[in-house]
């Protein structure tokens, strides 16, 4: 568990906090206490397919060295550019499965399923 420094910017602190939850999220653990996180690294979304409940806050954390976006088909959600080490949060709304990608890197694809 990384130490959190409150001297850091809100964004960085939030990213660190959420990273602590990333392992649980990617390993498929179902703990409801852990906020869902998608780690963007190696030009991929991980987990590629995320399942959440309506109302949960999903955070994308960019661990690559350059910007990415999380952009859903039909712009159901649209992060704009997420800087390296930056993050972006979306509150899951209406149930459904939403395909999304990175507008910069067409090879990046993922889905969010809201239950």
């Amino acid at each position: 568990m990384p130490e959190l420094s409150f001297a850091r910017s809100c964004g960085a602190a939030a990213a660190g906090l959420l990273l602590a939850g990333a392992a649980a999220s990617t390993s498929g653990a179902t703990s409801a206490a852990v906020a869902p996180v998608v780690v963007i690294e190696n030009v991929q979304f991980s987990p590629q397919n995320l399942i959440v409940k309506a109302g949960e806050r999903i955070t994308w954390v960019n661990k690559d060295l350059f910007p990415h976006t999380a952009t859903a088909d039909g712009k159901i959600f649209e992060s704009q550019a997420i800087a390296p080490n930056g993050s972006w949060t979306w509150v899951a709304g209406k149930p459904g499965t939403y395909a999304y990608g990175c507008t910069f890197h067409p090879t990046m694809k993922g889905t969010v399923t809201v239950q």
Binding site: N42, V43, D64, L65, F66, P84, P106, T107
Partner: protein, 177 residues
Amino acid sequence: MIMKHAAWSGILALATAASAAFAAGPSDPQIAAIVVTANQVDIDAGKLAVSKSTTKDVKDFAQLMVTDHTGVNKSASELVQKLHVTPESNPTSQSLQKGGGDNLAALKKLSGNAFDRAYVDHEVAYHQAVLDAVDTTLIPSAQNAELKALLVKVRPAFVAHLEHAKQLQSTLSKSGA
């Protein structure tokens, strides 16, 4: 069409990096110079394409190359400073530099569809060559663990760029002219 002009010499340099230039593989300072030069060459080509191409998809790709390779080089520069490694010019980095200059010179003579195709064709070959060099020479030769880790970390970007460039190449060939 392959290797029809001198602009491809940098790619050849990368392809032969494993054999002629480095009997025992490049040193870390040499790898650092190769990485920084390889990124810079693609940034320079990208900047030219952003200004010269009139095709949105090509301009977007070119801007992506500028942004991504600038990000990689920023990290590479920070790492070499941290490790107190001074990038050491070597035959591969020099050939890359020259190949990059030749490519720019060739591209500057072209316009419209011919420019787009030449730029994208070169990007496909370039990223494939960099990827091969990363896999066969740079990662196996890197001694410092953090330098090796950086190479491993940037590898997926070259894979994604290569795939993206190939898609673009396919689109351009379908658009004809």
